[in-house]
C-alpha cells in the first residue's frame, strides 16, 4: 500500500497537557495587556479559569519576569486588599525607524508600545545608501545609549522606507531615494541584532499607525492616503495590513490614468507663486493663499484634489473601506482637501466612506514601524507559544 502522506496543508498539532498550561499562561498575559494592574480574581473572571489555578500561573509568570507585583496601597475597599499584577512591559523593547529623504527618525518603545526614546537625525537628501544607512545606525545607537539597553534587549526592529518592498525586505526599483534601488537594510541591521528585522513601505506603516493611535482607531478596513510631494497609499483590510503577493499593494499611482505622480505639480506650478520660494515650501504657500482667497491658488488646490480623488476612488471602489485617512505633509491643509475629496468620491463611489484627517503628523511612519515590530513580537509569543522567556534584568 502506498504511503500517501499529504503534507500540503500544515495540520494543527495536537495539544499536549503541558501545552495547555502555556496557552493558559498566554491567556492571562493577554487578559492583562492593555488593562490596568489587575487582581488575581479579576484575571480569573476574565479568563474563565479558576482562582487558584490563575494564582499558580500568575506566580510562575512573576517568577519568569513577565509580570510584576503591585503591593496594595491604602485604597478604601471592604475586605482584604488584593495584590495587583502588572504586565512587565519593560521585559522587552522594540525599535521603529523611519528612513526618509531629509531625516531619519528612530523610536524605542517597550512591550506596551510606550515610547521611551526618540532620536531624529538630519540626512542630506542626496546622500548615497551607505551614508543613509550609517545615519540610521547612528540613530539606533543613540536610542540604545540613551536608555542604557543592549542589542539583546531589543526583540524586534522595523524599518520604514519609501517605495515598494518585496517579501524578503529588499527595496525594489521605483524609489525616490538616490541609489536606493535594491538595498537591503534588514541584512545590514541583522549584523548587529539577532532579533527579527522587517523592512516595510512607509505608507503602509503610516496606515498601521493611524489604526493604532491615530484617526482610524475604530476601523478595520482603512485606506490611508499619503498626500505630500509624493503620493501613496497603505491598505488595512479586516484589521490586517495587506502587502499583496509582491508587496506592491496600494501602488495605484503607477497607473497613468491615475495622476498621482503629477498631482503635486499643480501646486508647484501655481501661477501666483512668488519667484524665490523653495520647492519644499511651495505647497504650503499655495494652501495658505487658497485659504485667503487667491484665485489661482484655489484652482491649483482644486486640480490637485481632483487628481488625488481619481486614484482614491479606484481604491475605495476596489476595497469598500470604512474610513479613508488623509495623511502626509498636505494633511495639515486637510480643511481645504477633505470637502472636495468627499464630493468627488460621492460622484463616483457606491458607498462613500468616512474621510478623516491624520492626527499623527510626522511621526506616523516611525510609530507604524513600532506597531509592526510589536505585532511581530506578539505573533512569536502568542503563535508558537511562550518560549523560554528572556529573564529580564537578571
Amino acid at each position: 500500500m502506498t504511503e500517501q502522506v499529504t503534507t500540503g496543508t500544515l495540520v494543527t498539532t495536537g495539544t499536549d497537557v503541558t501545552r495547555m498550561r502555556e496557552l493558559n499562561a498566554l491567556s492571562i498575559v493577554r487578559a492583562l495587556r492593555g488593562n490596568p494592574p489587575s487582581t488575581v480574581t479579576e484575571l480569573a473572571t476574565r479568563t474563565g479559569l479558576s482562582r487558584p489555578g490563575t494564582d499558580v500561573i500568575v506566580q510562575g509568570l512573576v517568577a519568569d519576569g513577565w509580570l510584576t507585583v503591585v503591593e496594595p496601597d491604602g485604597s478604601s475597599v471592604v475586605g482584604r486588599p488584593a495584590r495587583r499584577y502588572r504586565f512587565n512591559a519593560g521585559a522587552g523593547h522594540v525599535i521603529g525607524v523611519d528612513v526618509g529623504a531629509h531625516k531619519v527618525l528612530a523610536m524605542l518603545a517597550d512591550l506596551d508600545g510606550t515610547v521611551t526614546w526618540t532620536t531624529r537625525l538630519p540626512v542630506d537628501p542626496g546622500a548615497d545608501p551607505a551614508a543613509r544607512l550609517a545615519v540610521a545606525d547612528a540613530a539606533v545607537d543613540e536610542c540604545l545609549a540613551a536608555t542604557g539597553l543592549r542589542p539583546e534587549d531589543i526583540w524586534a526592529i522595523t524599518v520604514g522606507v519609501t517605495g515598494p518592498v518585496d517579501a524578503s525586505g529588499r527595496t525594489t526599483l521605483f524609489t525616490p531615494l538616490p541609489g536606493w534601488a535594491s538595498v537591503n537594510p534588514a541584512e545590514h541591521l541583522a549584523a548587529r541584532f539577532s532579533c527579527p528585522v522587517q523592512v516595510e513601505n512607509d505608507c503602509k506603516l503610516a496606515a498601521l499607525a493611524e489604526r493604532w493611535q491615530g484617526a482610524a482607531r475604530d476601523a478595520d478596513d482603512i485606506v490611508y492616503l499619503l498626500a505630500g510631494m509624493r503620493t501613496g497609499a497603505g491598505l488595512i483590510i479586516d484589521g490586517t495590513l495587506r502587502r499583496g503577493y509582491g508587496g506592491a499593494a496600494g501602488e495605484i499611482g503607477a497607473l497613468r490614468a491615475v495622476r498621482w505622480l503629477t498631482a503635486p505639480s499643480h501646486l508647484e506650478n501655481c501661477a501666483s507663486l512668488p519667484a524665490g520660494i523653495d520647492t519644499d515650501d511651495a505647497a504650503a504657500w499655495v494652501f495658505n493663499a487658497a485659504r485667503s482667497g487667491d484665485k489661482a491658488a484655489r484652482t491649483a488646490v482644486r486640480r490637485y484634489t481632483r487628481d488625488l480623488a481619481v486614484g482614491t476612488a479606484a481604491l475605495v471602489l476596489t476595497l469598500d473601506p470604512q474610513v479613508v485617512v488623509l495623511g502626509g505633509g498636505f494633511s495639515r491643509s486637510a480643511d481645504l482637501i477633505l470637502g472636495p475629496l468627499a464630493r468627488e468620491l460621492g460622484r463616483t463611489c457606491l458607498r462613500v466612506p468616512e474621510i478623516r484627517a491624520s492626527t499623527l503628523g510626522a511621526e506616523s511612519v516611525a510609530l507604524g514601524a513600532l506597531r509592526l515590530a510589536l505585532d511581530e513580537v506578539d505573533a512569536r509569543l502568542f503563535g508558537v507559544g511562550l518560549p523560554a522567556p528572556v529573564a529580564p534584568r537578571a
Copy 2:
C-alpha cells in the same frame, strides 16, 4: 476602588482540560479531511498525538458519527492490517444556489464538497422577485427530494445573486435583475431552514470557486474577473474572500473612468454583425468572426479588452495579486483576450500577475456558493468547538 473591567476586546477564554480534548478531536478531524482513509498510526503521526490517545479519541468520534470505520481489505502488507477511518462526509450537507437572470442553479454537496445533486431550472429574465424566489425554492426542494434529505440535514445554505450584497444579506440597489433591489433571500429561506443562510455576490462566489476547484488552486491572492455581458470582480486576499466594509469590494466598474459598464457594447455594436442575431449571441459571433480574421470584429475585441484592462489594472495595482482569473461567459474566448490583456497590464502595472482563464464554466457561482457554505460549517465547527454533534442517520 472603581471596577474597571474593559470588555472592549474579547479575551481568549482559558483552556479547560476537557476543552483540550475537543481541540484534539478537531485536530484529528482536520488531519483526516481531504485525506484518504487513514489508520490510527497515521493520524497519530500527523497530529503529533500519541497512538493510544489518538485511538481513544477516534473511538469517540466513531461513536458520535463523525467517522466511519473501513475494515481492512486484503492489501498486501506485512504485519497486522490496520483498520482505516474515513471522515463521514455524509454527516451533513450544504446547498449552494445561483440565482441568475435566465436560470436558477442549485447544488447539494456533502461535507467533503462532493456534489451529490444538481438542479437547473429556467427563469424568465423578466420575472419579478417573488416568482424568482419561488423558482429558487423549487430548485432547493428538488435537491432535497432527489437525495431523500430533510431540511434538518442541511447545515448551511449560500445564495449567489448579482449586484452588491450588504452584511445582513440584503441585496442593494444597482442590480440588473428586475425589482431585485432590497430583496432578502436569506430571510425567505430562513423560514424553512434553521441553518445559517448567507447571500453573496456572484462574482465573489465565482472567485471562491476558482480558488477551490478552478484555475487558481495554488494562489492566495486572486483577482477574479467576471467578463460577460456584465462585468464584475471578486477579490481573494490572503486566502480569504474580502467583502469590504459595506460589501461592495470589487465594484470598481462604478467608476466612470473605468468603462466596464459600457465595455461589452463594443461587441454588441460591432459593424460586421449580421442583422437578425440575438443580443445574447452577438458576443459569441463577434469572437468567432475575430478568430477568422474579420477586421471590424478584431477591432471590437481589441476595444473591449482595452476597456476591460483599465479596471483590471486598477485592481491589480491596488492589490498586487498573484493571479488574475478571467471568468464569465467571455472566458470561452480567452484565447483572444488573455494576450492583449496581459500586454495592457504590462504597460501599466509594476508587477504583472499571471493571467489565467477560468476552467469552471457556468457552474462556478453555484460551486462558490457551496464553498462558502462549507466554510461557514467549518468556522462553526472549528471555531467554537465541536458542539453536541448531530447524530447522523440515527
